[in-house]
């Protein structure tokens, strides 16, 4: 038998009737809001007609009569069953002297300005922290390099497996496809000049100098920087990083160095694979669309492309790898104890590392061009 709760008023006499439970909360709320806030001391309140009552209903009742009234329910309504009085008394006692938290007044314009300022300062802070962290990592590296017993070989090999070996197929496939696309573009544009043979040079140039390393680095930024941030961030949330510190271990030595070194080993290897499979993609298009046989393709490579293009491309890989790994780890350390924060910093680490990779690549391209390498 369900009976929606309501308040029956005769002069100064309130009778609480029916079920005061969560399903009727909205209706009861309306009824309470309609009433003027009156002095409960001047009225008598009859709770004997009250049927079902849960904590939601009890909370509403408390709004009506006040916490103090409920805390004194044993004197005020001794006719109620003991169990019900116990609930109301417990609730009243818990809510006496328990003001709601002071809400900050909203100031939209001010808040917007403050957020903008915070954001700008945050960007500056980020660079500052990154530089500091790079210094810390290099210092730790310099110290541990002299102590072979402190090299975390097992951990590094595990990271190498995840960041290097497991990324091989996707890097190879992607660069192969991009290589084919570049060859198609070259073939289309160069056909008008009757110099389609230079498609070979185009593909080789592009992949040796830029695309091999750039594509591999961007893939690792998306794939591994995010993984580092999420791993270290979850460890931070779970207080594992604090545990590492209190055990007298250095989180940089234990967690960051193996990741950074593994990354610096994997990216050059992945770059090399990327170059090869990009050129292979180009070669297949040349074979299919331009009737340049593989042997001819290789002969042109050997004749026209000096080794330094390969070296220029490969030299960038360790630098990119270092920055991607360091950014990923630093963002992980910056996570503060919530799931949302893990998400924010993972996003930030991917965006930052891709940005840094592309920016540095542009700077390096200028530099190498000016140097005539």
């Amino acid at each position: 038998m369900k009976e929606p709760g309501y308040i029956d008023q005769h002069g100064n006499h309130l009778t609480i009737v029916g079920d005061w439970t969560l399903p009727y909360y909205a209706a009861l709320r309306l009824e309470l809001d309609r009433r003027p806030r009156h002095e409960t001391t001047a009225t008598t309140i009859d709770l004997t007609k009250l049927r079902a009552l849960d904590t939601a209903g009890a909370a509403l009742l408390m709004e009506l009569v006040g916490a103090r009234w409920l805390a004194e329910i044993d004197e005020r309504a001794p006719e109620l069953p003991t169990t019900r009085r116990a609930l109301l008394r417990t609730l009243g006692e818990a809510m006496i002297d328990n003001p709601p938290p002071s809400a900050r007044p909203g100031r939209p314009l001010w808040d917007t300005l403050a957020r903008t300022g915070q954001h700008v300062e945050g960007i500056w802070q980020q660079q500052y922290q990154l530089l500091g962290f790079i210094g810390q990592v290099l210092a730790t590296l310099a110290v541990t390099a002299w102590w072979p017993r402190r090299w975390r070989l097992t951990s590094m090999v595990a990271q190498l497996h995840q960041t290097g070996l497991n990324a091989l197929p996707i890097v190879a496939l992607l660069t192969f496809l991009v290589g084919a696309v570049v060859a198609f573009l070259g073939a289309t544009v160069l056909r008008d000049f009757g110099t389609t043979i230079y498609t070979v040079n185009l593909v080789a140039f592009a992949f040796l100098r830029e695309f091999g390393v750039l594509l591999a680095a961007i893939l690792l930024a998306g794939r591994t920087a995010s993984a580092f941030t999420a791993q270290l961030g979850a460890m931070k949330v779970n207080e594992e990083l604090d545990a590492v510190r209190t055990l007298g271990l250095d989180p940089i030595e234990l967690l960051v160095l193996p990741r950074v070194l593994a990354m610096m080993l994997s990216l050059p290897i992945l770059t090399f694979v990327g170059m090869l499979s990009g050129i292979l993609g180009g070669a297949l298009v040349c074979l299919q669309a331009l009737d340049i046989s593989l042997i001819q393709f290789l002969a042109i490579l050997q004749r026209d492309i000096p080794l330094n293009h390969f070296l220029v491309g490969l030299a960038k890989a360790p630098l990119f790898a270092f920055l991607i790994a360091v950014i990923g780890c630093l963002e992980g350390f910056k996570v503060s104890g919530s799931a949302q924060s893990v998400g924010e910093h993972t996003t930030s680490s991917v965006v930052q590392s891709i940005f840094v990779v592309i920016l540095l690549d542009a700077v390096a391209a200028l530099f190498f061009m000016e140097m005539g390498w």
């Binding site: 969560l22 849960d54 904590t55 169990t83 116990a86 809510m95 003001p99 104890g337 919530s338 924060s341």
Partner: protein
């Protein structure tokens, strides 16, 4: 007292296996309406796993779990959600949503299921937090800013949000100070008496067993060894049970609960 009534939750022949590792075999357990059932057992005997399989988070390898007379794992998703709303669960590690403040944590089910407007839900959430022993000013803090005991209290408030019929508590008093733990025991009793809750209470706290539980189920060797009134369980002829209830802590808790028998 309630043994003649129909059980609210009936577990029959439950088996839970993780690969080769068998946690439960042929486990039977009943939870009667309005009772507080204490579940004890050594660490790793599968108390949390039992709780998870009853609330439907873990599909058992074998056996039947009837809840309110329905076989929970077999129900279609809609009906299951309806049944699950009658549960309140306090997880061993709190499992608060870290991106929400405490009052938002408690208000979430009120907004989603009870359809309350946000302001009402948060006001009600603060009442529940206060009931669980948390003062008003912490309601706007995030879980990362709390102590372990406060997280337990907030998790209890969230478990109570929808005024559930069955409350599942996984080691609720672990991490609370003794005063807080005693207040917790009283709160559970008050709520049970006033609201007619049934409580499935996993605990290592002997004081809680003596103060609050109507029956105690002992998990051991993959089964419920015995489930009965505390004095009967304590007298059971089993080495682990004997050590548990008649070790130094067990005796101290017994004396605290029976002051008139102390020498």
């Amino acid at each position: 007292m309630s043994a003649s009534r129909e059980p609210l939750i009936r577990v029959r022949g439950l088996a839970n296996r993780f690969g080769q590792h068998s946690v439960h075999e042929n486990l039977d357990l009943d939870l009667y309406p309005g009772e507080i059932l204490g579940v004890v057992g050594g660490s790793g005997t599968g108390k949390s796993v039992l709780l998870r399989s009853i609330v439907g988070l873990l599909r058992p390898s074998a056996g039947r779990i009837e809840v309110f007379g329905e076989d929970l794992p077999q129900l279609p998703a809609r009906d299951r959600s309806r049944v699950e709303r009658r549960f309140g669960v306090l997880f061993q590690r709190g499992a608060l949503f870290t991106s929400l403040t405490l009052q938002e944590n408690v208000a979430l089910p009120l907004i989603e299921h009870a359809g309350l407007p946000r302001a009402d839900a948060e006001a009600l959430a603060r009442v529940k937090l206060a009931l669980a022993g948390l003062p008003g000013e912490v309601a706007i803090l995030y879980p990362a800013e709390l102590s372990g005991g406060m997280i337990k209290r907030a998790a209890l408030a969230r478990a109570l949000a929808l005024d559930p019929e069955v409350l599942f508590l996984d080691e609720p008093t672990a991490g609370l100070d003794p005063i807080g733990a005693a207040a917790f025991d009283r709160l559970i009793l008050t709520l049970r008496d006033a609201l007619g809750l049934s409580v499935f209470l996993v605990t290592h706290d002997l004081d809680t067993l003596y103060a609050a539980c109507d029956r105690v189920a002992v998990l051991s060797r993959r089964r419920v060894r015995v489930a009965d009134r505390l004095d009967i369980v304590a007298a059971t002829d089993d080495e682990w049970i004997h050590d548990y209830f008649h070790g130094p802590r067990g005796r101290a808790a017994y004396r605290a609960a029976h002051p008139e028998e102390s020498p």
